[in-house]
């Protein structure tokens, strides 16, 4: 997947590049609207990460251009302002999703995959990994074709794990993914622990492999290569 990161902060852009690079994505970044326009005129991208506050203007102004010239690209707005207006205007003008700083890189990745699935795979909303298959339309999880009885949160968690497989997911990142940012006081890691425990139990009961392991002190990891 080819990704254009339009973000004026080099460090942040580098974080994203590095993280997505490990997934095998090809990332390019531009720091200004001008530079972004040049790149967009020359190349096609599967996904565009667009910061709102850029040195030479608002990222919103680039949305029209992207929508006209790059109909197939997914646009994900990155904003620090968390202003409702930005969100509404951004989504109205054709952005596919909106993420607020500071985000977890795993979260960003999950969002990119989600908009990509919605748009590019034309309805084939099945995410598969070995014996596990997830239907993101019906929220059905299957292990070797037998239905796994998961709650919506467990389904969400499993999808998050598979999208970010082989990565250490902190409890904070998981909590933020499951309950959003503004559930201010609910980053209760006991709940994360409970959900992960239940999920592992359900998968192994259904005859699936136990891919999820605990990473000491930090969180959890979905291992594609089980020892």
């Amino acid at each position: 997947m080819k990704v254009l990161i339009i973000e004026d902060n080099q460090e942040l852009a580098r974080n994203i590049r590095e993280f997505l690079g490990r997934e095998g994505y090809i990332c390019e970044s531009s720091e200004t609207l001008e530079e972004a326009r040049e790149k967009l005129a020359l190349f096609q991208y599967d996904c565009i990460l667009l910061d709102i506050g850029l040195p030479d203007g608002s990222g919103i102004s680039l949305l029209n251009f992207i929508r006209n010239e790059h109909k197939d690209s997914n646009v994900l707005i990155i904003s620090a302002k968390n202003a409702l207006d930005d969100k509404i205007i951004g989504l109205e003008k054709g952005a596919d999703d909106y993420i607020t700083k500071p985000f977890h890189l795993a979260e960003l990745h999950a969002r990119i995959r989600a908009v990509y699935r919605r748009k590019n795979l034309g309805g084939a909303s099945i995410v598969e990994f070995n014996e596990i298959s997830l239907n993101t339309d019906t929220f059905e999880a299957r292990i070797n074709d037998s239905l796994l009885d998961t709650t919506p949160k467990e389904f969400d968690l499993l999808l998050y794990f598979i999208v970010n497989k082989n990565r250490v997911l902190s409890r904070q990142a998981i909590a933020a993914h499951l309950w959003g940012d503004y559930t201010d006081n609910l980053a209760n890691f006991d709940f994360v622990y409970q959900h992960v425990k239940n999920l592992r139990r359900k998968i192994s009961n259904a005859g699936g492999m136990d891919y999820i392991s605990t990473v000491y002190g930090l969180g959890y990891k979905f291992n594609s290569r089980t020892q």
Partner: protein, 435 residues
Amino acid sequence: MLVVLLIGGAIVYHEIQAKISGVEVVRHQRLNDLIADQIRQGGDYRDHPTRKRATITVIPADSVPRGVSSYFTRGIDWNPEFQRDEFKLMVTSFYVIDGRHYRITTYSFIPSFYELLPGVVDSFKWILLVLLVVVIISSGLISKYILAPFKRTMRVIQSFDLKRREPIRLSSTRTSEFMELNQFLKKMTEKAQEDYQSLKEFTENASHELQTPTAIIRGKLDLLMESEIRDEQAILIAEMQNALERLSRIHSSLTLLTKLENNEYVAKEPVNISNVVRETLNAFDELIEMKSLELDVHIEKGIYVPLHAALADLLVTNLVSNSIRHNAPAGRASGAGVDAGGFIRVNLSREGLVVVNTGREPQVPAAELFERFKKGNAAGDSIGIGLAIVRQICELSGFDIIYEYRDGLHGLAVSFLPRVPASKLLQNLLVPLHS
């Protein structure tokens, strides 16, 4: 007014008395002259009406006072006609008739101080009344005409809104005081708008500038987590993650509070709060189940409140998540000595929203719980700003909110209607689940 009337009364009284005396004196002088004429002409006038109150004495020339032809005296004296003391005016005149010196004295009884007083007071009562009516009517009319520009200014000021960037438009006036006032108001509102604008910009900039480095740190930690690290390094990273989480939450909450205080969320259309409550409870379903909390929910359907959709969401989410997080089993407070589990009661009616949950007694006074960074108990990783946000939303929307703790139960009520106090909503609901 009263002082003026008193002074005026005294003056009027004295004037009247002086005038009456003056007129009487002149009349008596004429009467004395008449008597003197009669004496000059000779003849018997003894029973003439002129002699009724006259005393005529012939006096030696040397007892005639020099330079005075007439004088008068006043005083209280016995009136034989009415058999009582009355105010008596006596005028004495001196004449020379046929070489003889005559002293003619006539007197009459005139109204005294006490007899005049009621009249003066009475007339002043009427004057006062008429004056009052005139003053009230005229002041109404005058203020209507004179204060018209002032009232126009007032109307403009009342409809002034900091958020709108347009400057106030004041109608011109010729009165210099109002001109000054208008100029002052113009300057003041412009300054306020400027300050508001820069505050807003600062908030937005601060938000932007702080969130970006936080995002960088978070990203670096995410990347660091995936490198080969030892266990003790993992612990360090986890602690950093925790602190960072806290920082970012405090920051976003404070930014939100500032936005609320700046009135940036204006409800455009009423929101269906019934749906919001139901959806929120659904979202927390699993958490409630994990904590084995019993639910007691009554939601009236189709209730709309004038609230921004995002704020309605925030309000309900904060209340429900609080009731989950601070929930602790009620202990042996209720019933037959059996351990009662924790529960959450959510009641939504036309009047308001009530959330009751079991929990430990808060360690700070109830009123302080709504303050920022005050926590009911030290437990958990809350930053203690959830209730401050809730209160701010309530204040913004004119909702009454109350918190109460009783026998292991926390109750929070939000009243949507101004005429219904929140405490009334809580009355019957702050009771154990099975009672």
